[in-house]
């Protein structure tokens, strides 16, 4: 199981545009990918509904997980989206 811990850098949190970018990136993964807080349940990273409902705010630490071939690369790409400040 590959795992990344990453802080949300977008001022709006993982919402609207950053959420769309995140889910678009996650959708490319052949395996299941999850996102969540350390203290709570993880949700399907490919579901825009689930990601919006997670309601992650600026500065929050999130945990990403995936398993299988290419998991490390997928998580790197997703962590980059989350750690990216607003353009």
């Amino acid at each position: 199981m590959a795992e990344r811990h990453v802080k949300v850098e977008s001022v709006v949190g993982l919402h609207s545009r950053p959420a769309a970018e995140f889910v678009k990136t996650a959708a490319k993964a052949p395996m299941d990918v999850s996102i969540g807080r350390f203290t709570g349940e993880s949700v399907n990273a490919k579901s825009i509904l689930a990601v919006l409902a997670l309601d992650a705010r600026h500065g929050e630490q999130l945990r990403l997980r995936a398993e299988g071939d290419g998991a490390e690369e997928i998580l790197d790409a997703l962590a980059k989206v989350i750690a990216e400040p607003d353009a």
Binding site: S16, A19, N44, I48, D86
Partner: protein, 149 residues
């Protein structure tokens, strides 16, 4: 899916931010009038998220809609938004969600994308101008429930 605001219906493709097309299908409404407007619930359900500049409602069939008030308004320090409800509230179609003072836009676009989240396509049922409560579009089919986390 009913109009959350009175205004003009604009195709999503004409919204100057392609990210909205990644969220699902829908249209945008350019609010009519100036000064203060009230954004209302386009469907009945539960407030899944409620930010100053945007809210999402999940209905009891597992379908969700996002209403985004203006383009690039998320980063505004004072975007003129007053939230009238709280995240997690049950809400009925037409009830006020957010009061919005359009004079706080600071040059940004007032277009409000109304998106059926994860829907591949919707059927538009309105063109030109709409009043609050006019039907904007209908879902072509329901997304599968299992993907909703």
């Amino acid at each position: 899916m009913y109009a959350p605001l009175a205004g003009s219906v604009i195709p999503l493709a004409e919204v100057p931010d392609p990210a909205f097309g990644l969220l699902g299908a829908g249209v945008a409404v350019e609010p009519a009038g100036q000064g203060e407007v009230t954004a209302r619930a386009p469907i009945s359900g539960t407030l899944l998220t409620l930010r100053s500049h945007a809210f999402a409602i999940l209905d009891d069939q597992g379908r969700a809609v996002l209403v985004h008030l203006g383009i690039d308004t998320a980063g505004l320090r004072d975007g003129g938004f007053t939230r009238l409800r709280a995240k997690g509230d049950r809400i009925r179609v037409g009830e006020p969600v957010t009061r919005w003072n359009l004079t706080a836009l600071a040059g940004r676009s007032p277009l409000c994308p109304v998106i059926a989240l994860e829907a591949p396509e919707v059927t538009r049922t309105a063109a030109g101008t709409v009043q609050v409560g006019d039907r904007l579009f209908v879902w072509n089919n329901s997304p599968s429930k299992e993907d909703h986390g």
